[in-house]
């Protein structure tokens, strides 16, 4: 792999490193990618977990601030990136969550968690009556989730508790798949590069054709 190439070249002089690096890239441009910022986030109950990094595999710097906005651009709060580019945000409203992070000059990423991914229970909490019942204890972490459920009238308890459990179980199963899908979507492979080259040749081929026609027919 590319790391291997680099390590072997490291023993030699700089020129050899460069040469081997170039060769490695020429031989296998598999993850052919420049430094594009990639971000994704998924909801698990009221907890939104996300990751930010670069397309070359580097993670966002710990301490990077992720700002969270609602559907109308109102600020919902912010999260801080920890180790491995990961961050966590606790949703208090069932609305579209719009995440914006700036990773130094010129590197900016925006992504969204739609309202549908958040539990219906959050709408109940926002309901004026229910909010009064919840007495200002918004679900801020996983531990407070049972408390919130207990405050909902007993008639709805079982149905919503089951719903939450199912959502949690399905979420845990689906999360790795979604992450893989997001990574795949950002992946630039052989086909993309060759396709682009084909388009360029085709475009200039058409231009050459037009030039020939012009010369022939004035």
């Amino acid at each position: 792999m590319s790391d291997d190439w680099f390590c072997r070249g490291h023993a030699g002089d700089l020129a050899r490193v460069l040469l081997m690096g170039l060769l490695a890239a020429a031989v296998q441009p598999g993850p052919a990618a420049a430094h594009k910022v990639i971000g994704m986030a998924f909801a698990d109950g009221t907890t939104i977990e996300g990751e930010i990094g670069y397309s070359n595999g580097d993670f966002a710097e710990p301490g990077t601030i992720v700002e969270v906005f609602g559907p109308d651009g109102e600020g919902l709060g912010q999260a801080t990136v920890g180790a491995s580019g990961a961050f966590t945000f606790f949703a208090t409203r069932r609305v579209d969550h719009h995440f914006v992070a700036t990773l130094g000059p010129g590197h900016r990423i925006e992504f969204e968690v739609p309202a549908e991914e958040l539990p219906v229970a959050l709408e109940t909490v926002l309901d004026p009556l229910a909010t009064a019942e919840a007495a200002g204890s918004p679900p801020t972490d996983a531990a407070s989730k049972p408390v919130q459920v207990a405050m909902i009238p007993t008639a709805r308890l079982s149905a919503e508790a089951i719903e939450a459990m199912v959502a949690e179980a399905v979420g845990a199963q689906v999360r790795p798949l979604r992450r893989e899908l997001a990574e795949l979507r950002e992946h630039t492979g052989w086909r993309d590069v060759l396709g682009g080259v084909g388009y360029i040749f085709g475009l200039f081929g058409v231009a050459a054709y037009v030039a020939v026609l012009r010369r022939r027919y004035g």
Partner: protein, 213 residues
């Protein structure tokens, strides 16, 4: 390079688009119809080179090759690089359509400047002086690209000096690699096909003005 959508303010984006449009108009007018294949080849070369990233030290870099493209194509480098940048943004999500103008200026501007600065040195003189001029072209083109990026960021609101330092530091390895590579390419081209560096003949049919011939 590859500034993304949303990172720059609207005036910067508009100025970039206007400059790129002007450059494109000049470049299209200067393309010699007989040399269209060269323009396409170099466009494809840039497209591929700037997608392949090479592990170097703790991070990785990718080539830009705008110096070489500029040396060979002159003003025609603008359409060549524009087409490649357009495809990168549409198909692969690098950069973006809004900032396409700025990215074109950032990449193609140095190409044209390097052509004006180092072109004569590369064409004339012995192989050694041509190689030196080629090396200078490779280094200077990346240096100018980094400065242009920093300027675009500074015009948006980032402080110029820190932004420039960051962008320059990130581009130092590319600068060295491109210097060596461009020098080598110049020597090779002069040996194999020296006509590549010759400017279009004054009377040669030109794409936009073919009807006058």
């Amino acid at each position: 390079m590859h500034i993304v959508d949303g990172a720059l303010s609207t005036p910067v984006v508009l100025v970039g688009a206007a400059l790129a449009a002007g450059g494109l108009a000049i470049g299209l007018r200067k393309i010699d119809a007989d040399r269209l294949p060269e323009v396409g080849m170099l466009s494809a070369t840039f497209f591929v080179a700037s997608l392949i990233h090479v592990p170097l030290g703790p991070s990785s870099v990718h080539l830009i090759l705008n110096g070489l493209v500029g040396l060979v194509l002159g003003w025609a480098a603008v359409p060549a690089l524009f087409v490649a940048l357009l495809l990168q943004s549409v198909f692969l999500g690098y950069g973006g359509l809004m900032v396409l103008g700025v990215n074109t200026v950032v990449i193609a501007g140095p190409a044209v400047l390097v052509h004006l600065l180092c072109g004569p040195g590369v064409r004339r003189g012995g192989p050694r002086s041509a190689a030196i001029w080629g090396g200078i072209a490779g280094v200077v083109s990346i240096l100018l690209t980094a400065v242009f990026v920093a300027l675009a960021l500074a015009a948006t609101g980032d402080a110029f000096v820190p932004a420039a330092k960051l962008v320059l530091a990130a581009h130092v390895p590319v600068m060295l690699v491109e210097g060596v590579l461009t020098a080598a390419a110049v020597v090779l081209i002069r040996k194999v096909n020296p006509t590549l560096f010759e400017p279009a003949e004054p009377g040669a049919p030109v794409l936009e003005e073919a009807e006058h011939v």
